[in-house]
C-alpha cells in the first residue's frame, strides 16, 4: 500500500438535524491525501473542518451523522467498520492531536502511564521494560527529556503538554495524523517550536498529516497542500504555492489578505486625522509614576514610568508574550488592580484615591475592549443592554429616542446592521459581531482613552483586519487615544504610533514601530519577529533549522539592556538605567 493514498474522501456529506431543519455541515467533499503529504484545512469556525476530521475518526458528536459518501483510509472503508474495529483503528492508524492539550491530559496521572494506555489498549499487555522503551523513544522523538515521563501534566508548560500529546499520537506509527489547531493556545515562540516538532516527526514516520487551522500564515509555513473550506464546501484545493500565488476563490483571497505583514501594505487608510477632544485639564491624560506590581514573590511589572499627554490622539502598543506583564498593565490602568508601588494618575488624579464623582468621570473617559467577546455580554440581557446602560449612566442620553439613535449610529459606524443585532441575545451573535458591538459601545461613550487588551485574538482571522480598522477609526475619526495591548507584532506595526516591547515585566525595546518592529535590535524583539508565521513561502520558518534556538535568544535577551529607538511627540517613557 505504499503508493495508495492515505485518505480518500468521496462525496462526503455530514448533516446535523436541528429543530429548524437539517443543517449540512459538510457538503459533497472530495479530497485525497497522499502518503507523507501535509494538508491544511483552513476556514472560519463553523466551516466544517473539524467536523470532517471527526467523521474520519467516526467520532461525530450527536446528533451529527454522515449522510452520504465514503471515507477510505489506506484501503479500509471506515464507514463499514464495527465499533470494535473502529476502536482498534483509532490511534493505531489515525491519530488525533486535540486543540487544548492542557485539557486532554489526565491531571491525576503521570505522563508515562497515560502513554502506555494507548499501547496496551491496542497491542495487549507487555512488560514494563518494553513499554518504557517505547514511551521514552516517543518522548525523545518530540524533543522532550526522558524524565518528563515521571511528571504530572500540571508540572509541564503549555508547549510541553502539546508535545506530549503529539508523542502519544505517534506512539503507534499511524498512517494519518490529524492535528486540530494544535497551537492555537500557545505563544508565537512556542508555536514555532511545536510546529517544527510536528513536521519533523511526520517526516520521520512518513504519515499523512491534516492540519486544521484558520491562520493563513501558519498554514503557508507548515503544509504542502491547502484545502479551503467555507460553509461546509471545499472552495479551493491545491498546493500552497498555487493557492498563495494565484488564489482563485474570492474567499481565499480574503484569507490571504487578512494576514497583516510587517513592512507590507497597510490595511488601513491613515489619511484622515481628527483632533483630540478638547480637554479642560492641563494635566497629562495618563501618567504612570514608578508603577510596580507584585503577585506574591513574583514581580509581574517592574517599576515603570511614562506620560501620555493625550493632546493629539495616539495609539501606543504594548507588545509581549503571555506572562510579560502586558495585561497586568492594562488592568492597572483601568483601576481593577491596584499597583503594589507607585501611582497611576489620570488627569492628575490618583485613580486609586478617587471620590465617587471623580470615579464616574474616570470611568466615562477610560473605556476598554477586552479579549474575550463571548464573556463580555451578560447572557441574561439582549445585547443593547451593554450599550444602553453606560450611555444613560454617564448622563449622555437626552431621551429614549436619542439613545436609540446613538446606538444605531455606533453600530453603523462599525459596520453592523443595527436592526439585525441590537435586539438579539449574545449567544445569537458571532464572536466578531460581539467584538464589534464592544467597539461600538466604546464609540458611543467617546472616552478620551481606550484600552484594547488583545481585542482580536479570539475572533476569526478573516475578521481581524476589519475590526482593527474599526478600532483605528476611533483614533482617526473620533480622536480617542488608544493603548493597544497585543502579542501580535504585525498588527502593532500597522496601527501604532509608538511600540513598547515587554519582556518579563521590563520594557526591552521602545520607539516608533517602523524602527522597533521593522528593524529590531533587541534579541527578544528579534525572537518574537522570527516566530511570526506569515504567508511567505521563501521564509525558512519551520524547516527544522537547528540554529534557531529560542532558549539561547531568551538568555541573551535577559542580559541585554533596553533599547530606545526615538521618541514621538506626546508620549514620554522614562528610560530605565539598566535591567535588574
Amino acid at each position: 500500500m505504499t503508493d495508495k493514498p492515505v485518505l480518500t474522501l468521496r462525496d462526503l456529506s455530514i448533516e446535523f438535524p436541528t429543530p429548524t431543519g437539517v443543517v449540512q455541515a459538510v457538503k459533497n467533499l472530495d479530497l485525497t491525501i497522499q502518503k507523507g503529504r501535509r494538508v491544511g484545512f483552513i476556514g472560519e469556525s463553523g466551516s466544517g473542518k473539524t467536523t470532517t476530521a471527526l467523521a474520519v475518526m467516526q467520532m461525530l458528536a450527536e446528533p451529527g451523522r454522515i449522510a452520504g459518501g465514503t471515507i477510505d483510509l489506506a484501503g479500509i472503508d471506515v464507514l463499514s467498520l464495527t465499533e470494535e474495529e473502529m476502536r482498534q483503528t483509532r490511534l493505531s492508524r489515525i491519530a488525533y492531536i486535540p486543540q487544548g492539550a492542557m485539557n486532554s491530559l489526565n491531571p491525576v496521572m503521570r505522563i508515562e502511564p497515560q502513554m502506555w494506555d494507548g499501547i496496551i489498549a491496542h497491542e495487549g499487555n507487555m512488560d514494563r521494560a518494553e513499554l518504557k522503551r517505547r514511551s521514552d523513544e516517543a518522548l525523545i522523538s518530540v524533543g522532550l527529556p526522558v524524565h518528563t515521563a515521571d511528571l504530572y501534566p500540571h508540572e509541564l508548560s503549555g508547549g510541553m503538554k502539546q508535545r506530549v500529546c503529539i508523542a502519544m499520537g505517534i506512539i503507534l506509527n499511524p498512517d494519518l495524523i490529524i492535528a486540530d489547531e494544535p497551537t492555537s493556545a500557545l505563544d508565537v515562540v512556542t508555536q514555532r517550536q511545536v510546529m517544527q516538532t510536528l513536521k519533523d516527526i511526520q517526516k520521520k514516520i512518513g504519515s499523512g498529516l491534516i492540519l486544521i487551522g484558520h491562520d493563513m500564515g501558519l498554514m503557508a509555513q507548515s503544509v504542502d497542500e491547502l484545502a479551503v473550506l467555507k460553509d461546509g464546501e471545499l472552495v479551493e484545493h491545491g498546493t500552497v504555492q498555487q493557492i498563495l500565488e494565484a488564489p482563485k476563490h474570492p474567499y481565499t483571497k480574503d484569507l490571504i489578505s487578512s494576514v497583516p505583514l510587517v513592512g507590507g501594505d497597510s490595511f488601513l487608510n491613515p489619511d484622515r486625522a481628527a483632533a483630540a477632544p478638547a480637554r479642560d485639564s492641563k494635566e497629562p491624560l495618563l501618567r504612570f509614576e514608578n508603577v510596580r506590581k507584585n503577585y506574591g514573590a513574583v514581580t509581574a511589572l517592574h517599576p515603570m514610568s511614562f506620560t501620555l499627554q493625550g493632546d493629539t490622539p495616539q495609539i501606543i502598543s504594548i507588545v509581549g508574550q503571555s506572562g510579560s506583564g502586558k495585561s497586568t498593565m492594562g488592568s492597572i490602568m483601568l483601576g481593577f488592580n491596584p499597583p503594589s508601588e507607585g501611582r497611576v494618575l489620570f488627569e492628575g488624579q490618583d485613580i486609586q484615591a478617587m471620590s465617587q464623582g471623580q470615579s464616574l468621570e474616570f470611568r466615562k473617559n477610560v473605556q476598554a475592549v477586552f479579549q474575550d467577546p463571548y464573556a463580555c455580554f451578560n447572557p441574561f440581557y439582549r445585547v443593547n443592554h451593554a450599550l444602553k446602560f453606560p450611555f444613560k449612566k454617564f448622563g449622555l442620553a437626552e431621551s429614549e429616542a436619542h439613545t436609540q439613535r446613538a446606538m444605531e449610529d455606533a453600530c453603523a459606524a462599525v459596520g453592523l446592521d443595527p436592526d439585525l443585532v441590537l435586539q438579539r441575545y449574545p449567544h445569537q451573535l458571532s464572536g466578531g459581531q460581539r467584538q464589534r458591538l464592544i467597539v461600538a459601545r466604546a464609540l458611543m461613550l467617546s472616552p478620551k482613552l481606550l484600552i484594547a487588551d488583545e481585542p482580536v485574538s479570539m475572533v476569526d482571522a478573516s475578521l481581524r483586519a476589519s475590526i482593527l480598522a474599526n478600532i483605528y477609526d476611533l483614533k482617526d475619526k473620533y480622536g480617542i487615544s488608544i493603548l493597544y495591548i497585543t502579542h501580535d507584532l504585525a498588527t502593532a506595526y500597522h496601527v501604532s504610533d509608538y511600540v513598547m516591547v515587554l519582556f518579563k515585566g521590563h520594557v526591552v525595546e521602545a520607539g516608533p514601530p517602523k524602527e522597533v518592529i521593522g528593524a529590531p535590535q533587541h534579541p527578544y524583539t528579534q525572537l518574537l519577529i522570527d516566530s511570526i508565521p506569515w504567508p511567505d513561502l521563501h521564509r525558512s520558518w519551520g524547516d527544522g533549522r537547528q540554529d534557531w534556538d529560542p532558549a539561547k535568544k531568551e538568555a541573551e535577551a535577559a542580559k541585554a539592556g533596553a533599547v530606545y529607538r526615538g521618541d514621538v511627540q506626546g508620549f514620554d517613557l522614562a528610560k530605565a538605567a539598566t535591567l535588574g
Binding site: F16, K27, D231, F370, F377, N378
Partner: protein, 310 residues
Amino acid sequence: MTSQDNVPLTRAQIRQAKRIKRFDNPWMNPKLIWGAGLLLGIIFLGIIGRFIWDLDLVFTGSSPLKLPPLGFENLRGQSGVIDHPIGTDGGGRDLLALIIVGAPNTLFVGLLASFIGMSIGIFLGFSAGFLGGRTDDVIRVGADVMITIPPLLILVVFQSAFGDVTLTMMALLIAGFVWQSPTRLIRAQVLSMKQSGYVQMAQLSGASTGHIMFREMMPNLVPYLFGSFIASVTTSIVTAVGLEVLGLGPQRIPTLGRTIYEAINAGALIQNLWWWWGIPTLLLAVIFIGLLLINLGLDEVSNPRLRKLS
C-alpha cells in the same frame, strides 16, 4: 453551518425534531412538570378540601373510632362509611380532615423555613463573595462550623425546652440550619462571576455595587437559587417531620408528622390500623417525590450537559 435545505423529513425525523424542540426550551422538562404537578396537587387538596369537607372533624371525638377506609373492614368487623371515606383514627378524628389541614401545614413549614434560610444564604453569600477579606473569612468559617452540627440534636433540645411551639416558630428554628449550603454555593458562584467579562464591563460602565449584584449577577443565578431552594425545602420537611414523629412538633395543630406520631403511640401497627399511619406516610412520599423530580428537572435546566435527546 449556516445553510439549510428544506428536504422533506421522514416521520422519524419529525419526531426527533419535536424532541429537539422540547430540548430547546429547557423549562419544558417532563421531570419538572411532573414534580410541580404533584406539589400543586397537595396544595389543591388543601384549598378545595377546605370548601367541601367539614374541618371540625379534626377534633378528638368528633367521629367514631378506628373506622377503616371505604371498602375495607377493621379487626372489629366494621366496614368503612361514606362519611369518613379514608377512615378515622383512634382518637375519633376523621383522617381526610386531618390530611386536608395537615399536608399543607407540613409543606408550609418546609417552604417558610427554606425561604428564610435562602434569604439569609443569599445575603451572606453575596456579602462574602463580594466584600471578601475579613467578612468572607467570618462567614465562610461560620457556615462551615454550622454544617458540622447535627440539626436534629439541637432542635430536639430546643423543642423540648419550649414545650408547645407554633408552625412559624418551628420554621424559624429549622431555618437556622438550612442557610449554610446556599451561602457556600452563592459565594462560590459570585466569586467566579466577579471575574467574568460582563461584570467587568458593568464596572467600566460605572455600575454601582448594588446594580452589579442584583441586575447583572442575580438573573444568572436564578437556576442555582431555585435548585438550592428546593433542596432546602426537602431538608426542612425531613427535619420537621422527624421532630413531629418524635412528638416534639406543635401539639395542637394537625400535621402529617404528628398524625404518624399518634398512630405509633396508640399502637396502630399491632392493631393493624394501617390507614392511620399509612395515608400520611403516602402523602409525605408524594411530597418528597415531587420535590425530588423538581430538583432533578432543575438540574437539567441549569446544567445542559445532563440533558439528553431521549
